[in-house]
């Protein structure tokens, strides 16, 4: 349903006709329709880069939906491989899909991951009247009876939200992870609704998806999956300090075509760093529940490679890929 709904939201030729002019030098492709995280990443980067004068002309934002980002990926590989002016929004969903071979055989090494400017910390959330007071309570309940706790999340089975509770259970020494119940619904807010309504016992998602519900007191956060507690949410404990060594953040960043020169690659890295350090971006992160997470250039590329390798292992274990 999510995909069908979001597909309606495409931009149109009229828009391109009106918006495309020679005034645009650079382009950010959001591989989804307006409204999601990728669209947000592109629009923020485009606005901020122009405001801080890191680019001379406004950056054009193009929405290229389809295949969970695969259509845009294919287009960049095939048509823009040496185009130094194009960047594409990406997140953990992009690398998860690449790891699971969900882009029709295309692989992560066909592009270069140039930088992340922030991250949405992973969270495990329960309704306010839940019997679970901390992560251990929940883990013990699942160990005793795996069917007693169902998770709702905004991604499909095998997606990033599904991986989070599995990683926690593995960290707790529970290896029968295919027994953990998970339903994928249409986005984080929907997952919260199902959990508050009592249809599922817990929600797995990103911090940005739950901020309003935490403030209104409808839900309690059992754990945030970051290394340190998140600024502004200091009363939420990390999984790590509760004895479960799991870090899972949904980074917001971009990739660039494979064929551009190292200088051009580094220039984009510097631009992204400037965005990450701007006051505008810090304000946008605070409003949207994002935590600082800046990695650019070669650092970022090697970090992404590691994440993909881990995802492949876990995906094989739950049978999403052979």
């Amino acid at each position: 349903m999510k995909t069908t709904m979001f597909k309606v939201l495409g931009t149109s030729a009229l828009l391109s006709a009106m918006a495309t002019s020679s005034a645009f030098a650079t382009e950010c492709i959001a591989p989804a329709n307006p409204g999601g995280g990728w669209d947000f990443t592109c629009r923020q980067i485009a606005n901020i880069l122009y405001e801080i004068k890191a680019i001379d002309a406004p950056m054009q934002v193009t929405n290229m939906a389809g295949g969970g980002g695969g259509v845009a990926f294919a287009a960049v590989v095939a048509d823009h491989n040496e185009d130094p002016d194009v960047i594409v929004a990406a997140s953990s969903a992009t690398t998860t899909r690449l790891a699971q071979n969900a882009f029709a055989g295309m692989t992560a090494d066909q592009v270069r991951f140039v930088g992340a400017i922030g991250a949405d910390p992973g969270v495990i959330v329960v309704a306010k009247d839940s019997p679970f007071q901390n992560l251990s309570d929940m883990v013990e309940a699942i160990k005793a009876d795996p069917g007693s706790v169902a998770f709702a999340g905004g991604s499909a089975v095998g997606g990033f939200d599904h991986m989070k509770p599995l990683q926690i259970m593995k960290a707790a020494g529970f290896n029968d992870i295919t027994k953990v119940k998970y339903i994928g619904v249409d986005g984080g807010a929907d997952a919260i609704t199902q959990t508050v309504g009592g249809f599922t016992q817990a929600m797995t998602g990103d911090m940005s998806e739950i901020v309003g519900f935490v403030k209104s007191g409808d839900v309690r956060v059992l754990a945030v999956l970051t290394e340190e507690r998140v600024p502004g949410f200091e009363d939420i404990p990390t999984a790590r300090e509760q004895g479960f060594d799991v870090v899972a953040v949904n980074w917001r960043g971009v990739y660039v075509p494979k064929g551009i020169s190292d200088d051009q690659f580094n220039e984009w890295g510097a631009r992204l760093k400037a965005v990450a350090e701007s006051d505008q971006w810090k304000a946008a992160m605070a409003e949207n529940g994002l935590a600082p997470f800046t990695k650019v250039g070669g650092d970022f590329q090697s970090w992404v490679d590691g994440v993909i390798a881990d995802t492949v292992v876990l995906s094989k274990e739950i049978g999403v890929i052979q």
Binding site: G36, I183, V211
Partner: protein, 505 residues
């Protein structure tokens, strides 16, 4: 109550400056045009204007006023091409073709447009009032709907399908099955496996129902027109003088109120949306009508109910969007994107933390709605003139808009071929009298229905009785069974089976 007045006056004091009124006017006008063009629905209209409103440097309130005017405008506009050309401007306007187009063929296009315009106003106005009075409370309704309840809701829609657009229930069922089958194409959300995609990345996300709708309606209409040399089409029909049909408005006021109620409730439920609202409003109206057999042949109540329903659903869908951050329809998803870009995060605290945003939005909706009514009724004359445009101009125009619209949405020639294929399918269906509305409904709702069933099965470890475990789902199942069986028995016992009616085509 004092709070309400205080809040409303706060809203109007922000939203009712001459400048924002002008924006609302522009938005309404542009929205109506966008809504009327096949393929370009309200969500595309809004998506299209987001970047423009940013490049014009509008502040948050102005941008909201402009875009909500476009949203409501497009909901009004969608009915125009439904009635005049048998081509729905957007998916919720699909039901309006059933009785609107026959009315146009009979030379009553003007009346159909006025009735549907007023019905749109009633639906949208009541929904805005509902939003104003009860939004935080109504948002709780969403917490009552789990996978089992949603599945029952979709079952209700499919069970009441029989008799849509055709008097043959078996053919409606076949059409719904075709739609459900098409919905199976793509990535399966529960297991993340591909089905029927043949490794083609364009099929990973499934078939876009806009491609299907434009193909099945617009392209097949063009084929049909060419074959029949324009006979038996509304184009060139002698038009009576356009007057406000007071009597007809009076006769349809019950239909409008009932349609608004049903549509509003459908809109509140995330995942149901305007299409289901207009569909259920139409079926509800037909099921209580004493003159059922005139539905589908130009009954004004068949125009009033779904139009009130889809506009009320559009208003209702704002409730989960604002209070939970769950978009209930494509368009509200775009509006959600707009709010996020303006650094306004919808959620349970929006009403208390950002009252100026919420109440100026409500004021903007009320303003847009009144403006649209005033604009639309006199403009009926202009729209009706479309029918006197010679067909050698109109038809290529429609074809061009269909192609440009779909290409701009999907940027792929693959989807264009698919649209033509749907056009052929629509043409064949028409030849053998299979209604196309259930096909669209199957594509629209099929995935959600399947996903919810499978989620229910995961949660209950495969126990089917889970589907009947709450009063809401039991109630919905009862209505579904009644909706399926009642027409069969009524037809058998209450009167002689009607002779199969032959349309002239």
């Amino acid at each position: 109550m004092m709070d309400l007045y205080a809040n409303l006056s706060l809203g109007f004091s922000i939203a009712a400056s001459p400048y924002t009124l002008m924006l609302a006017f522009v938005g309404c006008f542009v929205g109506t045009i966008i809504g009327a063009l096949p393929g370009l629905g309200p969500s595309n209209g809004v998506a299209l204007l987001i970047p423009i409103s940013f490049s014009m440097g509008f502040d948050a309130i102005s941008a909201l006023v402009l875009l909500t005017s476009v949203y409501y405008g497009a909901m009004y506009g969608g009915r125009i091409s439904s009635i005049l050309l048998n081509i729905p401007g957007d998916e919720p306007a699909m039901m309006t073709t059933l009785d609107g187009y026959p009315m146009a063929k009979q030379g009553r296009a003007g009346e159909a447009l006025v009735v549907s315009g007023v019905a749109s106003f009633v639906g949208a106005f009541l929904a805005t009032i509902g939003l104003m009075l009860m939004a935080p409370w109504l948002a709780r309704v969403a917490f009552q709907f789990g996978p089992a309840e949603y599945f029952a809701l979709y079952m209700l829609a499919f069970c009441t399908l029989g008799g849509v657009g055709s008097n043959n229930q078996a053919k409606s069922a076949i059409a719904a099955c075709i739609g459900l089958g098409i919905a199976m194409i793509g990535l399966d959300q529960t297991t993340n496996m591909q089905r029927f995609t043949f490794g083609n990345i364009h099929l990973f996300d499934g078939i876009d129902f806009l491609v299907a709708i434009v193909g099945l309606f617009a392209v097949s209409e063009v084929f049909h027109f060419i074959e029949s040399h324009g006979k038996n089409s509304a184009i060139g029909v002698k038009l009576g003088k356009v007057m406000i049909p007071w009597k007809m408005l009076n006769d349809t006021k019950g239909a409008m109120l009932r349609g608004s109620g049903i549509g509003f409730i459908a809109g509140i439920l995330p995942g149901a949306g305007a299409s289901l609202g207009s569909f259920l409003a139409y079926m509800g109206e037909k099921s209580i009508a004493s003159d059922k057999e005139t539905f589908g042949k130009g009954n004004p109540r068949g125009v009033a109910a779904p139009e009130a329903g889809n506009n009320a659903a559009a208003g209702g869908a704002l409730i989960p969007m604002l209070t939970l951050g769950v978009p209930g329809s494509g368009t509200t998803a775009v509006l959600l994107a707009l709010l996020l870009t303006l650094n306004i995060t919808p959620g349970p605290l929006l009403f208390t933390e950002r009252p100026e945003v919420v109440w100026s939005l409500i004021a903007a909706l009320l303003i847009a709605n009144v403006m649209l009514l005033i604009m639309n009724v006199p403009m009926v004359k202009v729209f009706v003139k479309i029918l006197s445009v010679p067909s050698y101009v109109l038809l290529p125009g429609v074809t061009m808009i269909a192609f440009v619209g779909i290409y701009s949405l999907t940027s792929s020639s693959f989807e264009l071929k698919m649209m033509v294929a749907f056009g052929v399918l629509g043409y064949v269906c028409r030849k053998i009298d299979i209604p196309t509305v259930p096909i669209i409904l199957g594509i629209l709702l099929g995935n959600a229905m399947e996903d919810n069933l499978r989620r229910a099965m995961i949660l209950s470890d495969g126990d089917w009785s889970y589907l009947l475990s709450s009063p809401i789902s039991i109630g919905l199942w009862l209505f579904a069974v009644l909706g399926f069986l009642a027409p069969i028995f009524l037809r058998k016992f209450l009167k002689k089976p009607p002779l199969p009616t032959l349309d002239e085509d």
